[in-house]
Subunit: 587 residues, 2 copies
């Protein structure tokens, strides 16, 4: 029986194991986890010192205990993990034991050879062994690659019921080694349903502080910080950490005052650091943070917040009506797909919609293939567009980031299929305002469907900020009278439901000449009504121009800096000489 | 003392004088008005017969009694008019005498030699003589030229206090000889503050009926019909009218049932027609018509209703920032001005804004010159743009139509100056949302000024449909945060005050590059918010394109017919194949 963990209170984790083992004789080239078998008394002693110092949670000596690493030393993962957990449980008594899971130690594809499913499998073995042995929670830590983190979290969530705490390690450029920034980390990890997240290792408490502040500003779940005892320095050939327990605790206090509730130490920390930390927390109460909800999609390296300015969603990776793309998908010509994707990104798309729905092809296989290729080439997040929930789940699962699912709609069956996927993988979901009776012609009826989608989503634990409503653009040539209703419905959804909005703009001009003119005009009307994310062709300069101009008019492009950069004659400075209000008033 | 006239009840006018005189011996070439001196007993007899038949009003034998006509015969206008009125008064007893004023009989400039002020002067003489002699009202009739009508009405209104009834004569093409349609007649004449208006002469009751229906549909004041006794036919060299009294009365009844309240006869009618007419009215009650208020500007031949689709107001006849026009105005190069005007009309302007405000020139003289030139060359109505009330009054007075005054604003002094002019000449007025404290930055405060303008206007008898509110476009480069407020204010004015809106769109982009892009985008936003009349450069195809597209999207361009005509490739039919809603719904 695992013990209940109270995440609403302060939780003190222990400090370093690796550097402690070095002081206990561990030599370079030795496997730290071998001590679970060879010197369990040393491990137990270290655990005991941390418990004495006031740790609520001790972390098993299993950081590198994955099959690939252990096999090099001839150890069995079950043996190492189980002994590690047993030692910790023996020491912990009523306190908690965290099964420690670190990175596998190999780069993932396409940079390395490790595939997402292989990584998942390696983590799964650790999770099962640790959970079987009786760990109380799982700590996935020191991750540099958010993709590997995703595999680990999925392995944890799918193979046991233990709470999961996830921490990544950042460089001084405020990114992880593979390029993830704090907001992106939070956006991806939060969605995957862990119990707490944060930052560990790499930096000292002073350097971690601004990163932790970023995390605090956007994480809806408890935040953990486990800094090193300063930045490592090499003195006389030895790695030295020189932040003393007092200073360490001083920063811990600052972090706690800002809202961190879970604190511990990483490399270079010892029981004295934890003791000092425990001491400063004694006089504090956990801060109840208020985090502004955001609607955001992330690639591994970039987060796009929908509602901050206009979010351009590239429409072109959709074979419907696109002969060349159709051929490319049929012949598996990924180069063509990538060229299209890069062109859209270069033209200003913030997110790319991806649709592989062709009757002649294996949509799931093609979609997975496209996602894999895209996520290693383009930096913008993806919106996965399919009517098949299997395709959606497969794509969302292997996507290296937090995607948008396009789409659910007001049909109960569709919501029952898609919402659990969205919830599990933490994806945003586009909700189309149609239901079993089709698309209503009136704005108020489209609004009602949107309302129902929001209500139903909340039953699945999906917050309204994770929904984006599409009031559905019908061709003006087909239903001229409905154009106003689309605009009106968008305004209603935005104003009354407070939900972000998306529209497939180009549909408006279907069947009419000079489509660009209708597209860009309709777009402007929709933007005024509150459209956040138009799905458009970013290569259409007139349509993109409308967005650039709107961003000036609506104050998103402050001082029109971007606009001027884009449009001012290149050979001379623009003559930005504003007239004063009195020129007009003087009448 | 003139008798009180009840315009809320039926009023029966008499029938023809001219054709009656012919049956009493008047020969071709004889001056009908000479009978006032030579055969007063015949005139009196005819009046008596009409009174016996049931006429409430008899019309003096002064149709052609203007100085130009009379001088050819050696008569004095005072003599003829006064004797005519005296004879009628003697016959009328308690019934009413209308001083009859017909056309002068010469074409006005630029088609003829008669100037507006000469026409005014001739009518003034008639009015003064007739009013002095004791006429009860003034009937200005059989006018073919709305410009001459305007001169006559102004002469009547400015030189006596008698009620004025004004009728024009139409051809079978539903226009007057100089090209005025019924709506335009109503829009111009109503504005000038007459008591009743309508149609007389030229056609028989059957042919007049559809014209009268058009007049009834738009006239806020009582409507009069005085048809001929049918269409004139030449039989044995004599002009014959062959609609018999019964048929004449049958049509009179139809007209009364549709809302005509003042009826009489013109050429070919005799006392029997009036008797029959009186008879059918006996069983009827006057109809209370409900006329939908419209906001409309007119040239002499064309009325533009603001609010029916988007009204494009051409901005280019304004020297501010336009070097060539400045030079043209200074050197009195009217050819340049006309070229600019025609180009704007050809490019799709519905109304032209005219501004002659240059410190170096005599604004009033130049403005009058421009108006004179424009109104004989372009067919679209004009918007007179000046900050000088003298210039405005001079221009509005000589304008051949119903102009828009640009502008009044929330300053009390300005409203006190401009509203009386607008009221007197029946012009629409643009109201700028600025006041003694300048232009407020917030939408709600601009709205308050608009509200005050509407309220103050009503004190001057100006209806809110005769106002057009301008919420004032400030350059985004100067006040980026106010752009939203302009849009918001426009929406408030439109929705809460129910007043039409106008905006000088191009101001938005002042000081920024790619002005067209900002202009056309801002325009789209404003149109969505309810802008009725953008002031723009109609030669800017991108900006005009926005209007064309908006008219499709907002359903003003039904089936996108105009749009397709404008933009479909010329060498092939457009492929207008609408997709059905189910294509989208099938998800
Ligand atoms: Zn560390
Ligand atoms: Zn263009
Ligand atoms: Zn007549």
């Amino acid at each position: 029986m695992s013990k209940r963990i109270d995440f609403s209170n302060f939780i003190v984790f222990d400090g370093a194991m690796g550097t402690m083992l070095q002081t206990h004789g561990l030599k370079a080239g030795e496997l730290p986890e071998s001590y679970n078998i060879l010197h369990p008394e040393i491990i137990e002693k270290i655990h005991g010192e941390y418990l004495d110092a006031g740790a609520d949670v001790i972390t098993t000596n299993t950081f590198g205990a994955n099959r690939i690493k252990l096999s090099k030393y001839g150890y069995d993962i079950g043996e190492i993990v189980k002994s590690g957990v047993k030692i910790a449980l023996k020491a912990a008594g009523k306190r908690l034991v965290a099964l420690d899971i670190g990175p596998i130690g190999q780069l993932m594809k396409p940079y390395g050879t490790l595939s997402f499913s292989e990584a998942y499998e390696l983590f799964r073995e650790q999770v099962i062994a640790g959970a079987d042995a009786g760990a109380d929670l799982i700590l996935i830590e020191t991750m540099s690659d958010i993709y590997e983190m995703k595999a680990a979290i999925l392995a944890a969530k799918e193979n046991c019921n233990l709470p999961v705490v996830a921490t990544m390690t950042f460089q001084q450029d405020k990114r992880t080694l593979t390029g993830t920034d704090p907001l992106t980390m939070v956006n991806v990890i939060c969605g995957l349903g862990v119990n707490a997240l944060g930052i560990n290792c790499s930096l000292g408490p002073k350097e971690i502080l601004p990163l932790i502040e970023e995390v605090l500003s956007c994480s809806k779940i408890p935040v953990i910080a486990q800094p090193n005892a300063g930045m490592p320095k090499i003195i006389d050939g030895k790695t030295v950490f020189n932040v003393e327990p007092d200073e360490f605790a001083r920063y811990a206090k600052i972090m706690a005052e800002k809202g961190v509730t879970i604190l511990g130490g990483c490399c270079g920390t010892n029981p004295e650091h934890i003791r000092a930390l425990r001491h400063v927390l004694a006089g504090l109460e956990p801060i109840k943070r208020k985090v502004e909800p955001i609607t955001a999609a992330s690639s591994f390296s970039k987060t796009v917040i929908i509602g901050e300015g206009i979010t351009v969603i590239g429409e072109k990776l959709n074979p419907t009506g696109r002969k060349h793309l159709k051929e490319a998908l049929k012949s598996n010509d990924m180069e063509y797909v990538l060229r299209q994707a890069l062109a859209q990104q270069d033209a200003g798309a913030h997110i790319l919609n991806v649709n592989a729905g062709l009757p002649e092809i294996d949509e799931k296989a093609v979609m997975i293939n496209i996602i894999r290729e895209l996520q290693s080439t383009v930096s913008v997040p993806l919106q996965i567009d399919s009517t098949d929930s299997d395709v959606i789940e497969a794509a969302v699962r292997i996507y290296n980031g937090r995607p948008i699912i396009n789409s659910v709609n007001g049909k109960l069956k569709v919501m029952e299929e898609i919402f659990p996927i969205a919830k599990k993988y933490g994806a945003c979901v586009v909700g189309l305002t149609l239901d079993e009776n089709g698309i209503p012609s009136k704005a108020k009826d489209r609004f009602k469907i949107a309302e129902n989608i929001v209500k139903t989503a909340s039953k699945y634990g999906i917050a309204k900020e994770d929904l984006i409503i599409d009031c559905l653009v019908i061709a003006a040539s087909a239903q001229q009278d409905e154009v106003r209703e689309i605009i009106k419905a968008t305004r209603l959804v935005k104003e009354r439901l407070g939900v972000k909005t998306i529209l497939g703009v180009s549909n408006i001009s279907f069947g009419l000449p000079n489509r660009t003119l209708l597209n860009r005009t309709f777009l402007a009307l929709a933007l005024e009504a509150g459209l956040d994310a138009p799905i458009i062709d970013p290569a259409d300069e007139e349509v993109m121009g409308t967005i650039n101009a709107f961003n000036v008019l609506w104050g998103y492009d402050k001082y029109a800096n971007n606009y001027i950069a884009a449009y001012a004659p290149k050979d001379k400075k623009p003559a930005v000489k504003a007239f004063s209000a009195t020129d007009v008033a003087d009448i």
